[in-house]
């Protein structure tokens, strides 16, 4: 087990949080639609320290989203266990329970369209009865302001915002609950390169200012290497761990890092593994990598 205090040299990020240690042990998930067993995950294991930023890459149908749904408490697992800070989060027979300690940001965006930005952001605080309305509002405004003066859009409805802005609000809606894990399910998938790059910078800043355990699911290997401390490549279905790459690039990072020899070496190492799985998935008739 890794030491909680390890900080890779050259990283100027805020200290690791005390909680948010994730241990996924030998998790298998079998779906049983109409009797045809589909093994979505098979014997998948990974360990994360509190404050780790892990990206999970793999072809469609490799069980990335299944894993995320189990972590978030939306789905059950068939065998294996998941621990969060030493406590069982999911095991066979336990009832999946979602919680504000692990909020998901979805790829299609899931802001509540009928609530204003501020109502969306404060929804968790009010539902968990953490504070009164006025206090929640103040805290919501504070979080919006801190995230690049978003206070000005507090009373807008999501439909009035660009997709990048919507995603920023969603991340704030998750972070305001001070979650132990931030689960990002291909949050920037539908964005063009320019906006995607801006969102990457934004996310890295959040990570540097207020470090959290982050699990970031993506199709995009470059994105994964640019953002994460570790990139896990999964095999095509049944999904299991294929490659676990430590990304030892200094933080804070910017776009220039993508031209560095270290980055290119990592990319070469990962690319062949990802290609191999994408090819297998393609030959099986699954959807291709985006």
């Amino acid at each position: 087990m890794a030491d909680n205090s390890t900080v890779t040299t050259g990283q100027t990020v805020s200290p690791r949080p005390k909680s948010g240690k994730v241990s996924v042990r030998n998790v298998t998930k079998i779906y049983d639609p109409e009797g045809a067993n589909v093994v979505a995950l098979e014997g998948f294991s990974m360990d994360m320290d509190a404050g780790d930023f892990v990206a999970i890459v793999g072809p469609s149908g490799c069980g990335k989203s299944t894993l995320m749904n189990i972590l978030a408490g939306f789905d059950t697992l068939s065998s294996g266990e998941i621990y969060l800070d030493g406590e069982v989060l999911a095991a066979p027979g336990t009832k999946p329970t979602p919680g504000a300690d692990r909020v998901v940001v979805f790829q299609q965006g899931a802001l509540f369209p009928w609530m204003t930005v501020l109502e969306n952001v404060t929804y968790g605080l009010l539902r968990q009865r953490q504070m009164g309305k006025a206090q929640a509002k103040a805290k919501g405004m504070e979080f919006l302001e801190r995230s690049g003066n978003l206070g000005r859009i507090a009373n807008s409805y999501p439909a009035q915002l660009s997709s990048g802005m919507q995603r920023r609000v969603e991340i704030i809606r998750a972070l305001i609950n001070n979650p132990k894990i931030l689960l990002l399910d291909e949050p920037f998938r539908a964005m063009d390169t320019v906006n995607k790059n801006r969102m990457h910078q934004h996310l890295l800043k959040i990570f540097q200012d207020n470090r959290k355990t982050i699990i970031f699911i993506t199709h995009d290997l470059e994105e994964a290497l640019f953002l994460a401390d570790r990139v896990i490549v999964m095999t095509t279905r049944p999904g299991t761990l294929k490659l676990d790459i430590a990304v030892d690039l200094p933080r804070p990072r910017d776009q220039s890092i993508m031209a560095s020899a270290a980055y290119i070496a990592l990319k070469q190492q990962a690319v062949s593994a990802v290609r191999e799985e994408a090819k297998r998935a393609f030959e099986r008739g699954e959807r291709e990598m985006a």
Binding site: A72, G73, F74, P98, G99, A100, R102, V103, V104, F106, Q108, A110, F112, P113, W114, M115, T116, Y123, G124, R127, Q128, R129, R152, I153, N155, S156, Y157, P158, A159, Q160, L161, S162, G164, M165, R173, N177, N195
Partner: protein, 276 residues
């Protein structure tokens, strides 16, 4: 969509949607194209009658109709009572259909047990045209008025229910998951997530429902009533006064249009989050 900021991509509309109040009536806002199209319609109609195009021999021209309207209807109590009676039936049928259809649609969409028990019957009843209910309705209800309201209700009820049911089924799973993650109880999720999520389909049901209720009420009045705009039109036919028929038809058109305007307005208020 109106005011894009220079930055463009970031904020599409800067003004708060809740504080939007613009003056409705001004000269520049008059729909000139619409007025022109209506004028052209009356001209074409008048022309067709004046030149006795095939089929138009018995049809009155717009001027004749207008004269009949001003002389025999505009200032009579009976004419405006017809409006009142038809509107009352539409409103009753429409509102009852909402009151019963919305909860039924919600239950069909949320409870698998209820759905299994009720939906098959619902699906057999749904294709029956409202007018096919006329005979039974007359036998069943003690008054004519009640049976007409019932038939009007039937017209809107199935459409509204099936729309809500569809709406419930298309609620984004992510919204419910997220609400649970954020700590919302079942009751809260129903009230603050599921209900607003089906509001757009309630609106669709209203738009379709109001159109159908007017269709149905007019036909029902022709068959089974001695009052209302439908009856007025029918009497024009029976008494061989086609000008009356046309007065009735135009009145129905205007009544339906007014109802649509009202419903549209209500819908806009129901969904302040929708882009204008």
């Amino acid at each position: 969509m109106s005011d894009r900021t220079a930055a463009g991509a970031e904020v599409k509309a800067s003004n708060s949607p809740r504080s939007r109040r613009n003056s409705r009536w001004s000269i520049s806002k008059i729909n000139w194209r619409g007025l022109f199209s209506i004028a052209c319609f009356f001209l074409a109609w008048g022309g067709a009658v004046a030149f006795e195009l095939p089929g138009f021999a018995e049809i009155p021209g717009p001027w004749e109709v207008l004269l009949t309207f001003v002389n025999d209807f505009l200032f009579t109590k009976k004419y405006w009572q017809s409006w009142g009676v038809s509107f009352k039936r539409v409103i009753w049928g429409f509102v009852l259909a909402q009151i019963l259809g919305i909860p039924l649609g919600l239950f069909l969409g949320t409870s698998r047990l209820f759905n299994g028990l009720v939906f098959p019957v619902f699906e057999i009843m749904r294709p029956i045209p409202p007018l096919a209910w006329v005979p039974l309705s007359i036998l069943f209800w003690p008054t004519n008025e009640a049976s007409i309201i019932f038939i009007t209700f039937i017209g809107a009820f199935f459409i509204i229910t099936i729309n809500i049911y569809d709406g419930v089924r298309s609620i984004k799973q992510e919204h419910i998951w997220l609400a649970r993650s954020l700590g919302a109880s079942r009751v809260r999720i129903f009230r603050r997530i599921m209900l607003p999520a089906v509001v757009p389909t309630i609106a669709v049901g209203m738009t379709l429902g109001i159109a159908v209720t007017w269709n149905v009420v007019i036909a029902a009045e022709m068959i089974a009533s001695d009052s209302g705009l439908g009856r007025l039109t029918w009497e024009g036919y029976v008494s061989s006064t086609p000008t009356v028929v046309v007065v009735g038809m135009i009145s129905i058109g205007i009544a339906g249009y007014l109802s649509t305007l009202i419903v549209d307005n209500v819908e806009r208020r129901m969904m302040p989050w929708r882009k204008s």
